[in-house]
């Protein structure tokens, strides 16, 4: 084979998905947000629904999600993403609408909106990133911080007697009749990444059925505020976070119905 022929052979083995923009991300090295963003972009591009999708960004580390994801985006006040998504979906029922929210946003200040959005069965996808800590404000205790886990506002570890218990909001959500598909995934290992992508894809696809809210929790890490290297944080997550927040589907649609 001549050199010219070799040059012409398509050697591309990987291409960045189009909806993941070229903007340099502000996320810390090893943070799960980047992977989660990419999965959303891949699913939307593979389904070819950019033109029909509106995202809602939260307050927190992922407040700038709209800088990295190339679809139309609305940035919500802290905790109100699911209410904002409700507003959009109700006036544009044919569109795909998703919110992307962290644990402080979704399970503390926005608990009311989260529960009522799911209870109304809004036909949206809620993607919930749970890393057990407030990232953007610098490592304060979150509603999902584990017992005895240290944060800047629980410096001696979360004392459940005075600080309360970590909130398993996903299990709570699954109990509501308005939810259609509720699952907990992670993005810290290749296998988990593939599963998480599948879950996100279902979350988008099910919207067309108008059967209720889809809720995908992604247990993630926060190397910077956990004060660990990325690898250490993934090990810690495996050992501690996943022990408390076990991975897997919590509520799956009746296959016959679907």
């Amino acid at each position: 084979m001549s050199v010219e022929t070799l040059d012409r052979i398509e050697t591309k083995v990987f291409e960045k998905t189009k909806s993941l923009l070229d903007t340099e991300m502000h996320y810390c090295p090893g943070c799960g947000h980047g992977v989660a963003h990419r999965l959303i972009a891949e699913v939307i591009d593979e389904m070819n629904i950019v033109e029909d999708t509106i995202g809602v960004a939260p307050v927190g580390c992922s407040v700038f999600a709209y800088n990295y994801l190339g679809m139309d985006f609305s940035q919500a006040a802290h905790g109100r993403a699911s209410a904002v998504a409700t507003g959009i979906k109700r006036v544009l029922p044919e569109k795909y609408v998703f919110s992307y929210q962290g644990d402080g946003d979704l399970a503390a200040i926005g608990t009311g909106e989260t529960i009522h959005t799911c209870n109304r069965g809004e036909n949206i996808l809620i993607i919930f990133i749970n890393n057990g800590i407030y990232g953007m404000t610098g490592g304060q205790m979150a509603p999902t911080t584990l017992p005895n886990m240290k944060s800047t506002t629980s410096p001696f570890g979360r004392d459940t007697k005075s600080m309360g218990y970590p909130l398993k909001i996903t299990e709570l959500i699954a109990a509501l009749p308005g939810t259609y598909y509720v699952t907990r995934q992670s993005v810290h290992k290749p296998l988990n990444v593939r599963r998480a992508k599948k879950a996100i894809q279902k979350g988008f696809e099910y919207q067309k059925l108008n059967k209720g809210t889809c809720f995908v929790e992604i247990v993630s890490n926060c190397p910077s505020n956990w004060k660990m290297t990325p690898v250490e944080s993934n090990h810690w997550m495996d050992e501690h976070m996943l022990a408390f927040y076990p991975l897997g589907d919590i509520k799956v649609p009746n296959v016959k119905e679907a």
Partner: protein, 354 residues
């Protein structure tokens, strides 16, 4: 079509007729008839989305989301509920989202009373949420205006990409009057270049946000907003003058109170005191110049409000000390009578204050 209607119902009917796309609300006295009326009428007649939210906080954020699509969206509440919405209103103003907000005021502070009041003037006109922003604020005085201002509000909201507030009170919301309803308009959505409706191939993605983390950018946004407010101040001042031409004294009042003051002015004229009434209709932009024009021709102003004295500050700013400005107010849900207003005016005149 002329009908006898409650103020709240005339307002809700007007929103149906103007072709509003969505209403998100939460029950609170004295404006729950709005949500009730819409629940009965709206969806089946025009397809308007009517959603009872879990709180005013949720309602205003639903408005934020839906308004970002360029649809005609609105909400209503009464004073305590409006307080809960202030954060969302600040976001809406910053992101420049057109929408209609209605405050059927009740007496405060706190949980207060369900009776009418005007204690939310400061909150509404001076910005109850955080940061430098303005809403366009319209104060109806009749059930007719409760209807007419809905149409006007949506026109202004889209013209300036700005939230518009109808600031009214429980009395006007609850009382029945004759109202001439405008014709049903079709529900149409104008194609706008900034909305979040799904990104086609041929444009960049649209982002509705109020976050601009670089100070230079945030300042530019602020300068842009202030420039817009200046244009609104230039174009959208609205007011009514009643018997002001030959007046020696002017009573300033907004909303329903201006009608009570008009009766007081008539009683005064029967006694030979030439009194006129100046009613600001737009509270932002405020008719500073128009009030100032009267300052050289009158002996004084009595400002009357159902609060402890809020708009009176703007009246004083208007006349720049050229004439004395006195105040008479009732609070806690008490509506002043024409007689007590006349009495207050006469007392100030007799005491040499006006």
């Amino acid at each position: 079509m002329i009908k006898l209607m409650k103020g709240n119902e005339a307002l809700a009917e007007a929103a149906i007729r103007v072709g509003a796309d969505a209403y998100f609300g939460y029950p609170i006295t004295p404006q729950s008839e709005i949500l009730e009326y819409l629940s009965r009428e709206a969806e089946q007649r025009t397809g308007m989305v009517v959603l009872q939210a879990e709180s005013e906080v949720a309602s205003i954020n639903m408005v934020y989301g839906a308004a970002g699509t360029g649809k005609k969206v609105w909400t209503s509440s009464s004073s305590p509920g409006m307080s809960l919405m202030q954060e969302g209103i600040s976001y809406i103003a910053s992101a420049e989202l057109p929408c209609l907000l209605v405050n059927v005021q009740r007496g405060g502070p706190g949980l207060g009373t369900i009776q009418p009041a005007q204690g939310d003037y400061f909150q509404t006109v001076k910005g109850g949420g955080h940061g430098d922003y303005k809403m366009i604020v319209l104060a109806p005085a009749t059930v007719q205006e409760m209807s007419d201002f809905v149409k006007l509000s949506f026109e202004l909201a889209f013209k300036y990409r700005n939230p518009v507030m109808i600031l009214t009170d429980g009395a006007l919301g609850q009382m029945m009057e004759k109202v001439e309803l405008f014709e049903q308009q079709e529900r149409t959505t104008e194609k706008l270049d900034w909305t979040t409706v799904g990104k086609p191939e041929d444009r960049e993605h649209n982002i509705i946000t109020s976050l601009h983390i670089e100070p230079e950018k945030m300042e530019r946004i602020n300068i842009h907003l202030q420039a817009k407010y200046k244009i609104i101040e230039k174009n959208e001042v609205r007011y009514e003058e009643i018997m002001c031409d030959d007046a020696d004294y002017i009573i300033t009042a907004f909303g329903l109170v201006a009608r009570i003051c008009t009766k007081a002015a008539e009683l005064a004229r029967e006694k030979g005191i030439k009194v006129g009434v100046f009613r600001p209709i737009s509270l932002f932009p405020f008719p500073y110049e128009q009030i100032k024009l009267h300052a050289n021709n009158i002996k004084g102003i009595l400002d009357v409000e159902m609060n402890a004295g809020q708009m009176v500050e703007d009246v004083k700013l208007s006349v720049e000390g050229k004439v004395p400005v006195e105040f008479h107010g009732r609070m806690g849900g008490i509506v002043p009578t024409p007689d007590e207003i006349l009495e207050a005016l006469e007392k100030y005149i007799a005491g040499g204050k006006l």
